[in-house]
């Protein structure tokens, strides 16, 4: 066990993936000498060379589009998008090509591409640097979407995402990059007997009154809310896999608690919470004592940083929703 930040855990995870498979390439803007604006790829170009850690021109469609070609040639490109708000120029390549080529080719072309995106707010940044675009990708058939919430999960899931034969959009909760946690580097991420299934939700805190489902940066917030809650015993489920959703684990929890609150930073309308609410309500209709409640960003563009604390779901808003769920 080593204590390290999530940023470091991702760095070490990337290193492991590159060591264990020479076809793994890192590709993105400023990821080489600079090590990326968040230093996630720090030192990797030095150790693996310019051919495996490639600085790209400033063009996101170009980065993802050429990654498709690299994948066709047998490589496993791990692409870094510098910030959440800059993935949109690559949207066409992701939706029309990355997501569809395996299906289009009837399985003859795999697309083992990982698209890493630091996402979410709370870091006092300027516009386009605090967005939560995960719903766009979770709605897109052919993609998988993961978001780790702590260093251990980051260390394992980045390796599992890279080893996956399907394209994975990998959302890194940037405001948790510097949170520390224990990482067991001895665990072999690719050995199912050692590492948990990345596509399963994780019950990160047990409770009996209300289930709170969350992912990425909100997991810590929800854990804090659960600890702070005086009135209700809160169970916290880290969804982790946003596509496919592990509804089984969540339903099992909701069957026990009878109540569900879903929390995310992205705007509420058509966000992940909508899908979770719809699925769980259908599945657990008779077990639910209250409607599924959502605590999310508002349906506005991400606000200027001096306003963001009002936008972001915080402990109080989570507890308020828990209270409301309990009142039904």
């Amino acid at each position: 066990m080593t204590t390290m930040t999530m940023a470091k855990a991702l760095n070490v995870g990337l290193r492991r993936a590159m060591e264990s498979d020479s076809r793994v390439l890192l590709f993105g803007e400023d990821i080489g000498r600079l090590g990326g604006v968040f230093r996630i790829t720090d030192g990797l170009q030095k150790d693996f060379g310019e051919h495996r850690v490639m600085d790209a021109p400033l063009a996101e469609s170009g980065i993802v589009g050429t990654a498709v070609g690299l994948a066709m040639r047998g490589y496993r490109p791990v692409v870094e998008i510098q910030f959440d708000g800059f993935v949109y120029p690559a949207f066409d390549q992701i939706v029309s090509q990355v997501a569809k080529l395996h299906r289009r080719s009837e399985g003859m072309l795999a697309m083992p591409i990982v698209i890493r995106i630091p996402f979410g707010g709370g870091i006092g940044a300027v516009e386009h640097h605090s967005e939560s675009p995960e719903a766009y990708f979770a709605h897109t058939a052919g993609l998988r979407v993961l978001s780790p919430s702590d260093p251990q999960a980051a260390y394992l899931t980045i390796q599992q995402a890279i080893a996956c034969q399907d394209p994975v959009v990998y959302f890194e909760p940037k405001r948790r990059y510097w949170d520390k946690g224990d990482v067991d580097e001895a665990v072999d991420a690719l050995d199912p007997s050692q590492a948990p299934d990345p596509w399963r939700a994780r019950i990160v805190r047990r409770g009996s009154d209300v289930t709170v489902a969350c992912y990425g940066p909100m997991v810590r917030t929800c854990l804090e809310a659960a600890t702070a809650s005086a009135d209700a015993s809160i169970e916290v489920v880290d969804l982790q896999s946003l596509s496919p959703l592990d509804i089984d684990t969540l339903a099992e929890s909701v069957e026990r608690t009878g109540r569900l609150v879903v929390v995310h930073e992205a705007a509420g309308s058509l966000g992940l919470g909508a899908e979770v609410a719809a699925r769980i309500t259908e599945r657990c209709f008779f077990a639910l004592e209250a409607p599924v409640l959502r605590v999310t960003g508002y349906d506005v563009p991400y606000p200027p940083s001096r306003v963001e604390e009002h936008f972001l779901p915080g402990l109080d808003r989570v507890l308020d929703a828990v209270d409301r769920a309990m009142e039904y």
């Binding site: 390439l25 051919h51 790209a56 021109p57 063009a59 469609s61 170009g62 993802v64 589009g65 050429t66 990654a67 498709v68 070609g69 690299l70 994948a71 066709m72 040639r73 047998g74 490589y75 120029p89 066409d92 390549q93 029309s96 090509q97 569809k100 080529l101 395996h102 299906r103 289009r104 080719s105 009837e106 399985g107 003859m108 072309l109 795999a110 058939a141 052919g142 998988r144 996956c164 034969q165 399907d166 496919p244 959703l245």
Partner: protein, 366 residues
């Protein structure tokens, strides 16, 4: 024969090795040695591709295909460049590049499958060393560059070729492909078929200057070739592929040609272009000029031409019958290969669909 085409562009373009009258001419920078057998082979390729194209157009009219994008008039550009590739090279064609896919050994029925609506693909890209036809304009240019970057990392002796049209040059992706190709010095050839039209838009709606000129500003050479002259196309493409393989980086080839048919079978070009334009281009027909050349040079006789025509007719029958006989995909195949790894949600949806459809005695209403 120097003529100005209706859109003001000069014909012939810079590189021509076979005139519309079938005469071999020389060019200071480009030459190519083609044996009689080679030339007859190219002629045969073009005739067969044209026949497949005509048959597919007919099948679409008969309701056997949902759509067809004809390559009529562009056979020299497509076959000439396709045949310039080595076995190991990798091509990235569009929906219209049947002459290219033919050159890669893809069968006519594989070409038709997507247009019949039984698949979104059609062939094994890895085996044929030819990507599936890309429909989203420009996307494949980046794939070709990425593949070429991979080739470079491998140190392999392989070139890639990206096909796109004049319209595609306006898309961001094609220009980003130029940037990446130049920056990484990737072994890729950009082969732009300027067929003068992007659906109803004439070439000057996409660029005010000849397309090959775009390359220099990105830092690699561009060349305009007579796209209806299969000899010149082959010479220019081979040179560009060699450059790529030799580590000299990308080339943009503009094959100056003409879309002699409608954009697709859904299109009605009488709404936007004059018939006389077509007449001008009929005189530059790529097949006719090679035929005249072969005949005049005594490289082929009536016997040969008749035999190719018969082969074409046989192929047409094969295409016609084969298309009609293509097995109808079952509904649940839509769940196949969406993911390479297990996906419980799709398994559930597949099971639900199968169960639901089985619950009907006769067919499903829609």
């Amino acid at each position: 024969m120097a003529a100005v085409s209706p859109d003001g562009l000069r014909y012939p373009p810079a590189v021509q090795l076979l005139t519309p009258e079938g005469e071999r001419v020389s060019h200071p920078d480009y030459s190519i040695d083609l044996s009689e057998t080679d030339l007859r082979g190219l002629y045969r390729d073009m005739v067969l591709v044209r026949r497949i194209d005509a048959e597919a157009t007919a099948l679409q009219r008969q309701g056997e295909l949902g759509l067809w994008a004809s390559c009529l008039g562009q056979e020299a550009a497509q076959v000439g460049s396709g045949r310039a590739l080595r076995a190991d090279d990798y091509a990235f064609p569009t929906y219209r590049d049947h002459g290219v896919t033919w050159s890669r050994g893809i069968s006519p029925l594989e070409m038709l499958a997507m247009y019949r609506g039984v698949t979104n693909g059609g062939w094994n890209p890895t085996e044929k060393r030819c990507a599936l036809a890309t429909i989203v304009i420009g996307n494949q240019a980046l794939h070709a560059v990425g593949y070429a970057m991979g080739v470079q990392l491998d140190g392999a002796d392989v070139a890639t070729i990206a096909y796109f049209g004049d319209g595609a040059t306006a898309e961001g992706d094609v220009n980003e492909a130029f940037v990446f190709a130049a920056v990484y010095n990737a072994p890729v050839v950009f082969f732009c078929q300027n067929n003068q039209w992007a659906i109803s838009q004439p070439r000057d709606r996409q660029s005010r200057v000849p397309i090959y000129e775009r390359a220099a500003g990105f830092g690699f050479p561009g060349v305009q070739v007579d796209g209806n002259d299969i000899v010149a196309v082959m010479a220019v493409t081979r040179a560009a592929l060699d450059r790529a393989r030799n580590g000299d980086g990308p080339t943009l080839i503009e094959a100056f040609t003409y879309r002699m048919s409608a954009h697709t079978t859904s299109d009605d070009p009488t709404r936007y272009r004059h018939a006389d334009e077509l007449e001008v281009w009929r005189l530059r027909d790529p097949i006719e000029r090679l035929k005249v050349h072969l005949a005049r040079q005594g490289m082929a006789d009536r016997n040969f031409f008749d035999q190719v025509d018969r082969e074409a007719e046989d192929l047409a029958v094969h295409v016609r019958e084969g298309a009609r006989a293509m097995p109808e995909p079952a509904g649940e195949t839509m769940f196949d290969n969406v993911y390479a790894e297990p996906h419980a949600l799709l398994d559930q949806q597949r099971a639900a669909l199968v169960e639901f459809e089985a619950s009907f005695a006769d067919e499903v209403h829609t």
